[in-house]
């Protein structure tokens, strides 16, 4: 019990003092996860919207597969990217393994199906409402995609948030392709796992506190934007 007490106290003082090691880990985590979500959004949002408006044979199977990919275990995503980027792999020559870039790629692969699947769900409801009117205007389904994305922008904030939550919370993928190298590829989740196993509870707890705070803050921001948007549109 005393251990826990002193660990919490030390954790708070680490955060309060903006400990440089802690700060570096936090900033790298944010950079990796935010970039990964951005990249995943560039692919996942249009893909999800297109899937909402397109009708083709096998569409049901594609939707089912996408939904299944939402549950892709991070370690599996990590393993796939590891195989691609390892020296013997097809992209080994790029020398990206154990770099932040590799971590971004792995998280983007993990998050893109989540964004696409959730976007499809949101956009399908909107398309049901808009389809006749947009066809009356002469808009093709492909032309409807940007319209739907823009008009569903506030609902998509929640989708992006789900993606960011997944990226910032996962350990397995960044551990495998990043290697948890101190000062280079160590992020909050991998540091927490390592420090806990080493018994350095204060740093692990401090990181846990920061992680929770960031997730809460991002959620609050998105919620605020969404409420404001819904009032205005």
């Amino acid at each position: 019990m005393n251990d826990l007490h002193s660990a919490v106290a030390q954790a708070i003082s680490l955060v309060a003092a903006a400990d440089p090691t802690l700060a570096q880990i936090v900033l790298l985590s944010l950079r990796v996860s935010l970039t990964a979500v951005l990249l995943a959004a560039l692919v996942g949002l249009p893909l999800g919207a297109l899937l909402a408006v397109a009708r083709f044979p096998g569409r049901g199977a594609v939707v089912a597969m996408l939904n299944a990919l939402m549950g892709l275990p991070p370690v599996v995503a990590g393993l796939l990217i590891y195989l691609l980027l390892s020296r013997a792999g097809p992209l080994g020559a790029l020398g990206l393994l154990f770099t932040p870039t590799a971590m971004i790629i792995a998280q983007a692969v993990l998050v893109a199906p989540i964004l696409a699947a959730l976007t499809r769900q949101v956009m399908e409801g909107l398309w049901e409402e808009y389809a006749e009117q947009l066809r009356s205007f002469g808009a093709s389904p492909a032309r409807a995609v940007p319209t739907l994305l823009w008009d569903g922008r506030f609902a998509l904030l929640t989708v992006l948030l789900a993606g960011f939550g997944r990226a910032s919370a996962e350990v397995g993928a960044v551990m495998i392709v990043g290697g948890n190298i101190e000062g280079f590829t160590r992020v909050m989740t991998t540091a927490i796992a390592l420090e806990t196993s080493k018994g350095d509870l204060p740093l692990a707890l401090a990181l846990g506190l920061v992680l929770m705070t960031i997730v809460l803050a991002v959620n609050a921001l998105a919620q605020g934007l969404r409420d404001r948007g819904l009032r205005l549109a």
């Binding site: 409402e129 006749e132 009356s136 002469g138 319209t147 549109a233």
Partner: protein
């Protein structure tokens, strides 16, 4: 004052439509030419909305064909449709007006000119910057009409545009519809409201159970319909 016909006359030849194995429309043939509004009249479930969607091209007929007789290569660009429940984009009033104009390839200056003209027509100019979906029901339908009018269609389809509006809003919408008819737009409109049909119609197409029973000038239809079903409908009897 009217521009020469680009797409009219419209000929429906033996139109049939079935949904899920249930026939909704049987062998409907009619010709619509430029001139006063055509009101498609009939009880609920007669197939009025389906006929309108077939004519506009939103539905593909399971039998027959829709043919536009005018010289225009792309008839789609010369028609517009207003729905019973207005479908407004989650944007400002002005952005709603601009959207189809941009799709039609008009430049920004022309979009703004037409949007301003359409806003004036429906009396919504002071609300141009408001979110469209925060407007009242009547204002939303007037915006939908303005949006269609801004496209300057030769033919405007209206599917029960007043069905969910109160009398005051209905009056405002009818006034706009009459202004559009007066400037030469061919209106093709469904309604099950006899009073509205009397106020607006130049000619009546009477549908009953998916069949076109009459297509005559409004005056003749209201003076003495040719079929027993239409007579019963005019007497206000519950036919279906």
């Amino acid at each position: 004052m009217r521009a020469p016909d680009a797409i009219l006359p419209l000929r429906a030849e033996g139109l049939g439509f079935a949904a899920g194995g249930v026939a909704v429309l049987h062998d409907v043939s009619l010709t619509l030419a430029a001139g006063p509004p055509t009101l498609i009249l009939g009880p609920n479930g007669a197939g009025k909305s389906v006929l309108l969607r077939l004519l506009h091209g939103l539905l593909a007929p399971s039998a027959g064909a829709v043919r536009w007789g005018g010289p225009a290569a792309d008839p789609r660009r010369h028609q517009a449709m207003v729905f019973q429940r207005p479908v407004l984009l989650r944007r400002s009033v002005l952005a709603n007006l601009r959207y189809p104009l941009a799709l039609a390839g008009l430049d920004r200056a022309e979009q703004d000119r037409r949007a301003a003209e359409a806003l004036a027509l429906v009396g919504l100019a002071p609300l141009a910057d408001r979110p469209a979906r925060k407007l009242s029901g009547g204002e939303q339908q007037r915006l939908a009409l303005a949006r269609a009018a801004a496209l300057r269609p030769e033919v405007l389809f209206l599917d029960e545009p007043c069905a969910s509006l109160d009398p005051a809003a209905t009056g405002a919408v009818e006034q706009i519809i009459q202004a559009l008819a007066a400037r030469g737009t061919k209106l093709v409109m469904t309604t099950h409201d006899l009073g509205q049909a009397r106020r607006l119609a130049g000619e009546i197409a009477f549908l009953h159970r998916g069949r076109l029973l009459e297509h005559t000038p409004a005056a003749r239809f209201f003076a003495g319909p040719a079929t027993a079903e239409a007579a019963a409908f005019l007497r206000g009897e519950l036919i279906w």
